[in-house]
């Protein structure tokens, strides 16, 4: 069973940055050794030890997957960030244009739409910045 856990950790750390993968593999290898040694010292039956090790692996599978996703994803996608900023600026520009044109055309409805565009773009931008932190 220890072999299965060792193979699993090497599988879900594949293609990760070397220091990250080596650290996780090292920690799990040490944990496995300590767990098995502890249980053997208590006289626990091998089958029970194997089930305990398997249980710890199985209960943590989801956490392993989410950890891998987290360490693989680079913090911030520059292209996505640039597109978001450009979209926000475009929305503000359209909003300002609508307000100016609405004033020139004596069209309060257009001015209101323009103001909503600007407020919405600013709100969206602030939320996006807060989420990225």
């Amino acid at each position: 069973m220890a072999g299965l856990v060792a193979r699993w950790v090497r599988f879900y750390t594949r293609n990760l940055p070397d220091p990250v993968a080596r650290r996780r593999i090292g920690e799990i290898d040490a944990d496995l050794h300590d767990h098995i040694a502890y249980e053997r010292a208590l006289g626990t039956a091998e089958r029970r030890i194997a089930l305990g090790v398997l249980s710890r692996m199985a209960r943590g599978l989801a956490a392993d997957a989410s950890w891998r996703r987290r360490v693989r994803t680079p913090k911030g996608n520059p292209v996505k960030t640039l597109l978001t900023v450009l979209a926000g600026l475009a929305a503000i520009a359209i909003g300002v244009a609508a307000v100016v044109l609405g004033e020139a055309d004596d069209s309060p409805g257009l001015q209101l739409l323009g103001a909503l565009f600007v407020i919405g773009a600013i709100t969206f931008g602030v939320r996006a910045v807060r989420r990225s932190r």
Partner: protein
């Protein structure tokens, strides 16, 4: 899974800090993953040993938050077995652990049932 509110710790993370504080107070400032899982089981915060993925992910997060610091143990100390990653509470971690303990004690006191009879 609910989104983590920025600046908050998950219940498991608080349990880890509390266990780490208890171990530190009993003279074991540096601990490793299996030792921590054992301590948490003995202290009754978990019925079974914490899962590998759950435990090491939480330890990593606490280190990112600056509440724990870690290092590999010396090769000489690890003769005949894989080297352990040793963790210690930082000053910030001690403070967070004490806050978590205080909050838990507060909850325990508030949850105490009324035993005195109410007004007639």
């Amino acid at each position: 899974m609910p989104r983590r509110k920025p600046g908050t710790l998950l219940p498991l993370e608080n349990e880890i800090l509390e266990s780490a504080l208890a171990m530190s107070r009993s003279g074991e400032a540096a601990f490793h993953g299996f030792g921590l899982a054992q301590a948490m089981r003995e202290q009754g915060t978990s019925r079974s040993l914490t899962a590998h993925g759950t435990l090491y992910k939480a330890l990593g997060r606490l280190e990112e938050f600056g509440l724990l610091a870690s290092r590999w143990e010396d090769a000489e100390s690890a003769e005949g077995r894989p080297r352990r990653r040793l963790y210690e509470l930082t000053a910030k971690g001690v403070h967070a652990a004490e806050q978590a303990l205080a909050a838990e004690e507060n909850r325990a006191v508030r949850g105490f049932p009324r035993i005195a009879p109410g007004p007639a």
